[in-house]
Assembly symmetry: C2
Homo-oligomer: 279 residues x 2
């Protein structure tokens, strides 16, 4: 496994591999790797001849009052986990390499970024699409793998790839959960014991919604009321949003359609958690 | 020479060529080809093993009161000229292929687009960078060739390519002029005989600026006054801007530095003409 800081070197290596007819798979991350990431890496290894992992905490996708400075950085552990997943290259760039002096280009996806986290975290998705496009251009992957936990991010990236005619297949994998149902997230490390316990209500509430739809409930107001009640059963969570949306456009739905998605964001203390289910 | 309307087909062909080790050169145009474009094509043939020309009048780079609908379209003549330049593929897409329903992604270059035409034509460069990035992703060129007549466009595209880590070499070629000095432009077709005669003052005025710098003049206010006077010697031109700028950042200069660039935009009737010189 090679650890490369220079984007020029990663790009040259990937272009060389592709000329040799090898298929390049890519998993972009912010590090603090957990089982969710490892699932993406294992799928990457299966889909590509070569597997590139990037670890970069992208300042452009954090708001001014968000957790950029305290975002978990676990470099040595990440490298070990990556090696166990047979990663071929870790791209591990500096801020200076990604955003050199005079940097001035942004990617804007205007519609799928409008609601949900896009509304609550202004500028977040501009930061995501900008860095992901840069990473795609550096890594030149044939396939890139993302988790469905960040469902809006996955939709926004699919939108960008389609709109910009990129020859890259985007694969989304189901959210990996702990045995108690909590969606894996690097931010779970922030949670106190009590907060972690409370956070279980999020996946529980999604399960409630799913059961209601299964048993024929079609009134979205009733579903969202039940989800709200489940989450508010603990007083340690603060709901940021609960929405049921079209899975491709993320437009809010008023009645059920196949693969409708329920999406939630909630604060446990200062930690913002997100989760979603297909209904 | 193949004429291809499908972007998927062009992309697949270019990727195949690149896997075979061939170098792909690209000249993006809006058609209405003239000697300036042909110079780019000849250089493309020299620089690449395969040469792709795109002809697409991009609606996103025209303002609401600009000349989109009357922009010259000379398809048959263009195809003939391209064939004479040994173009391998003309990419000739429809609006629907470039901006399908649900299209929603824009590229913003924030600094080099600020002044000059960027200030006078709001949204113009967002349209240019968006379509050029799409065309780059479709055509997958190793090298792309642009004319210096659209000097700000060339700088903006170089900025985008650098910022987005694209593995594409951008080549700028000197403006091609008629024997009377007028910069070649598809929009020259709009000019009446009198307007065309008046338009000669633009290149003449740039020549005046160059001579002044050569003979040691360092006061930019004096140079711009002389340029203004030359252009206003005919009453058929209306100055849009005259600026002396850094050739890389396009920041306005107050004193001379190597390769400082003087840039002009002026209206001849309804026709907006631009030109520029290295001082």
């Amino acid at each position: 496994m090679k650890i490369i800081e220079s984007w020029q070197e990663v790009q040259a290596l990937s272009l060389k591999w592709k000329k040799e007819g090898l298929k390049v798979a890519f998993v972009p991350t912010m590090g603090a790797l957990h089982e969710g990431h490892l699932t993406l890496l294992r799928e990457g290894k299966r889909l590509g001849d070569k597997l590139i992992l990037s670890i970069y905490v992208n300042p452009k996708q954090f708001g001014p009052n968000e957790d950029l400075s305290k975002y978990p950085r676990t470099k040595e552990a990440d490298f070990k986990l990556a090696e166990d997943c047979n990663v071929d290259v870790i791209f591990y760039p500096s801020d200076k390499a990604i955003y050199p002096d005079g940097y001035q280009t942004n990617i804007e996806v205007t519609e799928t970024t409008k609601g949900l986290c896009g509304e609550k975290r202004p500028g977040h998705f501009r930061g995501v699409t900008t860095v992901v496009l840069k990473l795609f251009n550096i890594v030149q992957p044939d396939v890139a793998i993302f988790g469905e936990k960040d469902f809006q991010q996955l939709v926004v990236i699919k939108t960008m790839v389609r709109d910009l005619n990129l020859p890259i297949k985007i694969v989304g994998l189901p959210t990996v959960r702990g045995p108690d149902g909590l969606a894996m997230s690097s931010r779970n490390r922030y949670l106190s014991k009590d907060e972690r316990q409370a956070a279980l209500s999020i996946s529980k509430s999604l399960q409630v919604a799913k059961e209601m739809v299964k048993s024929g409930e079609a009134d979205f107001a009733k579903i969202i009321a039940a989800v709200t009640k489940t989450i508010n059963s603990t007083n340690l969570l603060k709901i940021d949003y609960i929405k049921i949306c079209d899975p491709e456009t993320l437009v809010e739905l008023t009645k059920i359609k196949p693969s409708a998605r329920i999406l939630i964001a909630a604060f446990a203390g200062k930690t913002r958690l997100i989760d979603n289910y297909e209904l």
